[in-house]
């Protein structure tokens, strides 16, 4: 069984897509830099040429618009934003244009574009290099949103996104780049819209996104030593999201915690909590808990970061809180 890192899996997915489909090209900032994309695009321009791996001017709006326009004209572009924050300069082509296009023209013209955006929290980078904005884009009809948490999914979800036919926002997490896992050599797709159960458990379901999957698995190990058996579900797709897998799990555990390292208000966790709260009201023993970032911008100072960002310890204490209450 071959093992690859998350970042190497990402690079391999790009290389295989470029090699197998002449409609695929990549455009964005930092693609020819040895470090900008964290190794995920290393030397691809040497292999596939600078006409198909295009390091762009500092024009997020225009490069994203170019990718969308090329998609409308039959290509399968990937537009790269080295920080999700920078992508906000390109909201018009993503939200007004790509997401609406199929509907506005009754499905006659579609925008099969992949917008790849990177989250990179911590490191004293502050408020404009650390935002996790998946919920803003989850809100928009016509746009799919995926967040791979493993090396296997980093590759399989990118391939699925390029082949999907709809605009897909693909969000990868810099802090997962070094994580390793099984990654087959052949091209494969991970179906968009399906979650994965990463750890089986009886007592509580933890639904997690992106880096919080790893953190929740670590938390589950701690909690298992305390006699609390956690089931951990990797959401993988933010939109559409896999209601059935969560409902099936909650039907057994009857408790739900949602961990999403993004702002609290109107977040991914809020959406899942509202839906499962309505659909599984009679099954739940306790109120659903959300583990999220406070509604505050990210600080820079390393003295403040630990009090802002969330991790395994926050999951552990939330689940403990749940079990300290009176059991029904």
């Amino acid at each position: 069984m071959r093992t690859l890192s998350y970042v190497a899996a990402l690079r391999e997915a790009h290389a295989q897509l470029l090699s197998h489909d002449s409609r695929v090209f990549v455009i964005g900032q930092g693609l020819w830099s040895p470090w900008y994309a964290g190794g995920s695009m290393q030397d691809l321009e040497k292999e596939f040429g600078r006409d198909r791996v295009i390091d762009s001017p500092v024009s997020e709006n225009a490069t994203t618009g170019l990718a969308v326009g090329a998609a409308l004209a039959g290509m399968r572009p990937i537009v790269f934003h080295p920080r999700m924050d920078f992508m906000l300069l390109a909201v018009d082509p993503i939200v007004n244009q790509a997401a609406n296009w199929s509907y506005m023209f009754a499905g006659k013209v579609k925008a099969p574009v992949v917008i790849r955006a990177v989250i990179n929290r911590g490191g004293e980078q502050g408020a404009q290099h650390a935002q996790a904005l998946q919920a803003m884009f989850m809100h928009v009809p016509g746009l799919k949103v995926v967040m791979p948490a493993t090396a296997y999914d980093a590759k399989g979800l990118l391939i699925a996104a390029v082949n999907d036919g709809n605009p897909v926002l693909y969000i990868d997490e810099r802090w997962l780049y070094a994580e390793s896992g099984h990654v087959p050599e052949e091209m494969y797709s991970v179906p968009i819209g399906s979650a994965a159960v990463r750890r089986r458990g009886r007592d509580v379901t933890i639904v997690a996104t992106s880096i919080m999957v790893k953190e929740s698995i670590a938390a589950a190990e701690v909690l298992s030593r305390e006699g609390i058996d956690c089931e951990v579900i990797d959401l993988r797709s933010i939109k559409p999201w896999d209601r059935d897998t969560i409902l099936q799990s909650v039907a057994r555990t009857r408790r739900l915690v949602i961990a999403d390292a993004a702002w609290h208000t109107c977040g991914v966790a809020a959406e899942i909590a509202a839906t499962i709260g309505a659909d599984a009201f009679g099954l739940l023993r306790q109120a659903i808990l959300r583990i999220t970032l406070p509604d505050v911008p990210a600080p820079s100072s390393a003295a403040l970061e630990p009090f802002y960002f969330i991790g395994a310890a926050d999951v552990v204490s939330a689940v403990r809180r749940m079990f300290c209450g009176p059991l029904k």
Binding site: S59, L66, A70, L72, S102, Y103, M104, V109, G142
Partner: protein
Amino acid sequence: MQHGDPPISLLRQLYRTMVLIRRFEEAVADHVTAGEIKTPCHLYIGQEAVATGVCSTLDREDYVWGGHRSHGHYIAKGGDIRALMAEIFCRATGCSEGRGGSMHICAPEVGILGTVPLVAATIPLAAGAALASKIRNDRRVSVSFFGDGATEEGHFHETLNIAGLYRLPMLFVCENNFYSSHLHLSERRVCDNIDSAGQLHGVPSVRVDGNDVLAVRDAAMGAVDRARNGMGPTLIECRTFRWRGHVGPSWDMDVGIKRKDDLKQWIDRDPIRLLREVLLARGESPEEVDAVETECGDLIEDSVRFAKNSPEPDPGQVLQHVF
């Protein structure tokens, strides 16, 4: 007008297209006034020479992008008139099946992948189609039509730079009609110098009389030739005027005396009459020239009948076309 000696058949064809657009828009205006069309309509009356001149230099496969005022681009590129009128009536048989209305129209079979009303939004999309053509090496050209207001958006300047840098096969066609909604150009820009925007980005730029269809066509022919031969984009500023209001059929007297005086001068330079004079000077009889009126009138009458007889979109399908 002095443009050498274009063949008479070409002149007739240009004339027919301009008349077809004019009469189409007048029919739309009448039905808006009558309350039968409710979608916001931004009429192209007065600007017909721009779409007609530029699109006369394009092939069927070439791409055309527009904005909120794009009925003329659609017709000049050869889109189906019935499907356009039906869309403006928001019927199921419309080019966007009633999802679009006047401001979101498409005719992918003739290279119109969609026009949308957000000002300047299709400029980078047009560049994207040009980039697709460049990567595929299929020699298609992509034309972006936009108004003077769009030159105030970042989309325009970012895209000029990238298109110049990558030598994309595209045309930036600015239809400078001097008004963005109610604001005159002088209230929005320090200088009347849209054509100079290209120079900053290494994009050759030219200013032409947008009411002279042959001047527009000459400029576009040169630009299309450059684009097809790998020499990159061109910016063409076409100076023209819309006769009606920003939106709807009114003559827009509400924006003041200044515009009223402007309007009179521009109506005196009606692009259709200017070409009519060329045709007559070339020996066509008034009867021959005016014969096109009957043909265009019939086509438009047919399209209105088709639209009115078409069903409304099925409410059962309101959720379709999104995954």
